[in-house]
């Protein structure tokens, strides 16, 4: 035990209290939505008026709402499939492709972090109008692939980098083709990360509003439906009931995805990062969004 640690420990109590306060700040506003969704009043204000499930009942039999939910599910699944496929291939080629093109593609794929959503939205709006199909569910899918791409690339790259190099080399030395090595060795080894990337990409799409706002035609997604309801004070309780449901589903999916990602990384024996000069991930498997 070194003295730096012993000295440092004395400050830990205050810091611990601060972290607790920070978590309260982080969660309290969000948790107000579930709280008031059960409140028997049209206004979100104290004192609480009593418990009701009335607002949840209004969610059923609402065709605009169920239509938006259907759109969000279809768009989320399609965009997550596209973003995960791109994340797998881009990061694999970045690590093993040995070509400047692959490295360039991987760098551009992480660029959307540095572009505000409003600009992603308008650039794709111009593009889809130019192609001809215009604002539509397909357009939103394209937008959400872009928004989710940095996440899937970072997750898959850290996973591929954590697979010991010798495993891939052994497969190639034993005569497996590139395609067989990729499909029979590398993909199965990274399955938990693939599922995790897919789920997080789905969540990103499912909750995304800023880009979808520009690309939606006549079929809105769930966040766009919520946005349209915010104008009417009368529908606020319904929005809160809907919001609570979405938050609950998001929490569950995110939790499963995080557990899978960590399990996947822990499964590899102490990883040898393929490129020590660019650690995309710490040893505990935390995402680093980008290294400037």
């Amino acid at each position: 035990m070194n003295t730096a640690r012993i000295d440092a420990k004395q400050g830990g109590g205050w810091l611990g209290a601060y972290v607790l306060a920070y978590l309260v700040f982080l969660y309290l506003p969000i948790l107000l939505i579930p709280l008031f969704s059960f409140n028997n009043s049209i206004q979100a204000a104290f004192p609480l008026q009593g418990f009701t499930l009335e607002w949840y009942a209004t969610l059923f039999g609402n065709s605009a709402l169920s239509g938006a939910l259907g759109n969000s599910l279809v768009i989320g699944a399609t965009a997550a499939t596209g973003a995960t496929l791109c994340g797998i291939t881009v990061s694999y080629m970045d690590l093993y492709g040995r070509s400047p093109l692959a490295a360039t593609i991987s760098a551009i794929a992480r660029l959307p972090i540095l572009i505000p959503g409003v600009i992603v939205g308008i650039s794709l709006l111009i593009l889809v109008n130019l192609i001809g199909f215009g604002p539509s569910r397909t357009a939103i899918v394209l937008g959400h692939i872009l928004v989710a791409l940095p996440t899937t690339v970072v997750i898959m790259k850290s996973r591929f980098a954590a697979i010991p190099k010798t495993i891939r080399e052994a497969a190639l030395d034993l005569g497996a083709s590139d395609w067989t090595t990729f499909r029979r060795v590398m993909l199965p080894l990274s399955l938990p990360a693939i599922v995790s990337a897919f789920m997080l990409a789905f969540l990103t799409s499912f909750d995304e509003f800023i880009v979808a706002f520009f690309l939606a035609g006549t079929e809105p997604t769930l966040p766009l439906y919520i946005w349209s309801q915010l104008r009417f004070p009368k529908s606020l309780p319904t929005v809160m009931a809907l919001g609570t449901t979405i938050l609950a589903v998001s929490f569950v999916i995110a939790a499963i995805a995080e557990i899978l990602r960590h399990r996947g990384l822990a499964a590899a024996q102490r990883p040898v990062p393929a490129d020590l000069s660019k650690p995309e991930e710490t040893e505990r498997g935390e995402l680093q969004w980008h290294s400037t």
Partner: protein, 295 residues
């Protein structure tokens, strides 16, 4: 007598062209077409006149001249920079101690705490902003709680529809973005550096100021960037909690592609925003280089 023929060493990469093509295709399409080409369209449109058609007409600097000469756009741009700068500062400063605790003190609770700070990252941004709307509204949570508890006699209007409301809401919405990069930077500081500092007689604060802080700067800068970029272009939070006095540059871009229906001018505003972001990225990069890339 047989000669031993040295076997040709296996080529290092026996990549078949087909495999490489198939693997590069999805990413290549998305990056070159959806990102680069689409951004190129915005740049192209910014130099066109608005004649109601999709790609405008003629070649003109008029859009940029308007952006540069009309004081309205300077006001809104400076306001966006001020709001995004404040949000970034607030987010990074408040996140740093959390990341510090996670890296050095959390012990067995680290996994759980990391999970708790990342979780809001995956929840709906719109819902997080909406939550602040119900907190800050005239008949909202904060006012009613203050009146109910007898601190104030009647609700006050001052919360909603102010730039301050925008700053608080954005700082909350993007808080989870800031913790991870700083935590990663802190966590990868070699423990031997800290031991060396204390062995050489540095007090904890000196060791923090001279060893930990400089070494974590790359993480701090990365955090600042990932918070600054989405906030400077935001239009949802100003619309929901900001009121007319908090219009940001993102709101103006959105209006050009909506009600105002002047796409070339909106594109010029977007190019201006990207230039601002580029400038910030360059500043951050040079600052990063000064701290040396410790990787």
């Amino acid at each position: 007598m047989s000669t031993i023929v040295a076997r040709q060493p296996l080529p290092k990469s026996r990549s078949s062209t087909g495999f490489r093509l198939a693997m590069l295709l999805p990413g290549g399409l998305v990056t070159f077409f959806l990102i680069l080409f689409a951004l190129g369209l915005v740049l192209f449109l910014a130099f066109r006149g608005n004649d109601g058609s999709l790609l405008g007409a003629g070649f003109t600097f008029a859009n940029f001249i308007t952006v540069a000469s009309d004081p309205l756009y300077w006001t809104v741009t400076l306001r966006s920079l001020a709001i995004a700068g404040l949000v970034t500062l607030a987010t990074v400063v408040t996140a740093y101690p959390v990341a510090y605790y996670l890296a050095f003190y959390a012990g067995r609770r680290r996994g759980l705490l990391l999970f708790l700070v990342t979780l809001p990252f995956w929840t709906s941004y719109l819902l997080r902003v909406f939550a602040w709307k119900i907190v800050l509204a005239y008949n909202g949570v904060l006012n009613s709680a203050l009146v109910e508890s007898g601190i104030w006699s009647e609700p006050i209007l001052a919360f909603l529809n102010t730039p301050a409301a925008v700053v608080v809401t954005l700082a909350h919405a993007y808080a989870p973005f800031a913790i991870l990069p700083i935590y990663v930077a802190l966590d990868t500081i070699p423990k031997s550096l800290l031991e060396a500092a204390s062995d050489l007689g540095a007090r904890p604060f000196t060791s923090f100021r001279r060893v930990v802080l400089p070494n974590s700067m790359p993480g701090v800068l990365a955090a600042a960037l990932v918070v600054f970029v989405p906030t400077v272009g935001d239009y949802v939070t100003p619309a929901l909690v900001g009121g007319p006095a908090s219009t940001m540059i993102g709101s103006l871009i959105q209006a050009q592609f909506g009600k105002a229906n002047d796409w070339p001018f909106g594109a010029a505003l977007a190019v201006a925003v990207m230039l601002v972001i580029l400038a910030v990225v360059l500043v951050v990069r040079s600052a990063d280089r000064r701290f040396g890339s410790r990787t």
